[in-house]
């Protein structure tokens, strides 16, 4: 694995690996909804890849472009890129997204109870999976002003995963300065008590590892480390004490089938191949 994969090499990039790992989560014939984000090329590619290879019943949601089931084969800039609309089947309105979210079903669309591999990011993520898009420092004169919280509130209406493209101690902090998306809150039962029994995030997808959460305390726990990195690399670049199991497997690397499908059917322009994610 390389930070970015250049033509003429056998490398795959971190971004490609992340997209493939996410696509694997969307397998099965169940009718699900999955999309990406404003800067969400990775989940967008993942879900298009999953739709083509393992789940034809997945509804590909691109909220910023306002459509479902675009049939692109070159990767749009993000879910807001109107090229997501090529071959789309219906419009979707943000009012529908908000209705779904306030209803506590799927924030991405009303009435579907299952969510595919999407995720939220943030400028900070803490050990309970809370996400901060507000900023760092005392409010309102923040030292770092975040972009605003958009739809991160929907993390409270259903279990949503977290995607972090740059793994370092500034992002992975012990406690977020502000919560804009509720993870497992302060651990234990705190989320279930505050949010009507709703489960928190299941996974955290990063450029060098995958984490899940412990069953009782809901603390972030290392689940696998991507090829080329070690548990020590993860620990050294995480700003809090991760729960480390006795055995941590290496993430199954992309297979030839997966890379070929991604590069020829989803990302023909090589956006993810060239995209540079970072560690430290």
């Amino acid at each position: 694995m390389a930070e970015a994969a250049f033509p003429g090499t056998d490398d795959y990039s971190m971004a490609e690996l992340m997209a493939i790992v996410l696509a694997r989560m969307a397998g099965g014939g169940e009718e699900t909804v999955a999309g990406g984000g404003a800067n969400g090329g990775i989940p967008l590619a993942a879900n298009r890849l999953a739709q083509l290879t393992v789940n034809p019943n997945l509804w590909l949601f691109t909220g910023g472009a306002g459509v479902y089931n675009g049939k692109f084969d070159t990767l749009p800039l993000g879910t807001w890129d109107p090229s997501c609309g090529h071959g789309a089947e219906c419009k979707i309105y943000i009012a529908d997204v908000v209705d779904g979210g306030t209803k506590g079903l799927n924030p991405r669309a009303t009435r579907i109870k299952r969510l595919g591999s999407s995720g939220f990011g943030g400028i900070q993520v803490d050990k309970y999976g809370n996400v901060n898009m507000i900023g760092i420092g005392p409010h309102p004169k923040l030292k770092v002003r975040g972009p605003g919280t958009v739809g991160t509130i929907w993390m409270g209406s259903q279990s949503h995963n977290i995607i972090v493209e740059h793994h370092n101690k500034r992002v992975f902090v012990d406690k977020v300065d502000y919560v804009s998306g509720a993870g497992w809150m302060t651990g234990g039962n705190s989320r279930h008590e505050a949010l009507d029994g709703r489960d928190g995030p299941e996974y955290v997808w990063s450029s060098i590892c995958v984490c899940d959460f412990t069953e009782d305390d809901h603390r972030m726990r290392l689940a696998s480390v991507h090829p080329g990195y070690t548990v020590a690399d993860v620990v050294a670049n995480t700003g809090f004490e991760l729960v480390i199991p006795d055995e941590v497997p290496t993430t199954t690397p992309p297979t030839d089938f997966e890379l070929k499908a991604l590069r020829t059917q989803v990302d023909r322009n090589g956006v993810l191949r060239k995209r540079r994610l970072t560690v430290g």
Binding site: R24, M25, G29, I92, D99, R111, V210, S224, T252
Partner: protein, 319 residues
């Protein structure tokens, strides 16, 4: 390792997860199956407008399947789509906004049931139905409306209206409860196998009704290929992912209009109204609803393809 049961799904490569058949699942079911689903529920909601775009073939199928004692959340205006279910004993409770046959007069079965007290009628109205549906569509605890009901008797006649002090203004406002349904049934002119439904007219009540329902069933005049839908996705009224079942029912809105498609069958509407007024409702139901084996036999009974083509031509001449 690949192919083995992994603790985490993300460890198993895609080629080991690929289903044997990568075909997208069709939502098409028979009208009879749809009728049984509706009949097994308690609260049904409808779209359409006056004598247009009513999900008549689904209503007939529900009556054939023995639907009884249901609650109806109608569109804000409707005619036969509420009157026929009342005539057939399908309804116990009706949220009333407007039930009537406009130029053809009052709704006979509705009127009779109301006078005989055999139907529980909630004195609702246009905002009550719309805003209540909107609330249910978004999981909101209620919807609010300013002073309007202070000027009418709804406030005493409709116990489901409540009053509260608006914390923003300090004024009292009226609250409308969420109106969810177990099943929403709708008519569309075109739909694909995956539930992307296109209405060529209508009043736009379909989307919120769909969002406020547990199950959505679409009856479509035509089942079209995905490429028809993809030609103009902005024409898709209800996204397929909200739809559970699709039924192919050509001329399924008969005897009401199907927008931009075929005309209201005024002769048949008059026949229905006359028979119910003469106390022959059961005779109508026996002959036109329970008699025909299926939708195609019904179409034959009401004039067959010749009559249907006339209704199509009629709308072309009018426009």
């Amino acid at each position: 390792m690949p192919g083995n049961q992994q603790k985490h799904k993300f460890m198993t490569p895609l080629e080991y997860q690929a289903p044997a058949d990568l075909k997208r699942r069709s939502k098409l079911i028979s009208l009879e199956e749809a009728g049984k689903i509706i009949a097994s529920k308690q609260i049904v909601s409808l779209a359409g407008s006056h004598s247009a775009d009513a999900a008549m073939s689904l209503i007939r199928a529900a009556i054939r399947a023995g639907a009884k004692d249901m609650t109806l959340i109608p569109p804000i205006t409707t005619s036969m789509a509420a009157d026929l279910p009342i005539a057939a004993g399908m309804l116990k409770k009706l949220y009333l906004s407007y039930v009537g046959f406009e130029i053809f007069g009052m709704a006979p079965a509705f009127r009779k049931a109301a006078q005989e007290g055999t139907l529980d009628i909630v004195e609702a109205d246009e905002p009550f139905i719309l805003l209540g549906t909107q609330a249910a569509a978004g999981g909101k605890p209620f919807n609010a409306v300013q002073y309007l009901y202070d000027g009418t008797d709804h406030k005493t006649l409709n116990p489901e209206l409540k009053k509260i002090v608006d914390p923003f203004t300090g004024r009292e406002v009226w609250l409308i409860p969420p109106l969810r349904s177990d099943v929403f049934i709708m008519h569309a002119q075109a739909c694909d196998l995956y539930g992307n439904a296109q209405c060529w007219g209508g009043t736009g009540q379909e989307r919120d009704k769909a969002k406020a329902a547990d199950i959505v069933i679409v009856q479509a005049d035509e089942i079209v290929g995905s490429e028809v839908i993809q030609k103009d996705p902005s024409k898709t009224t209800v996204p397929g992912l909200w739809v559970d079942h699709v039924v192919h029912a050509p001329f399924g809105a008969h005897p009401t209009f199907s927008s931009a498609s075929y005309s209201v069958d005024d002769q048949h509407l008059k026949l229905y109204i006359d028979m119910v007024r003469e106390g022959r409702a059961q005779e109508y139901i026996d002959k036109y609803i329970l008699g025909p084996k299926d939708h195609f036999e019904y179409l034959e009974l009401v004039g067959g393809l010749r009559r249907m083509v006339d209704l199509r031509t009629a709308i072309a001449i009018r426009s």
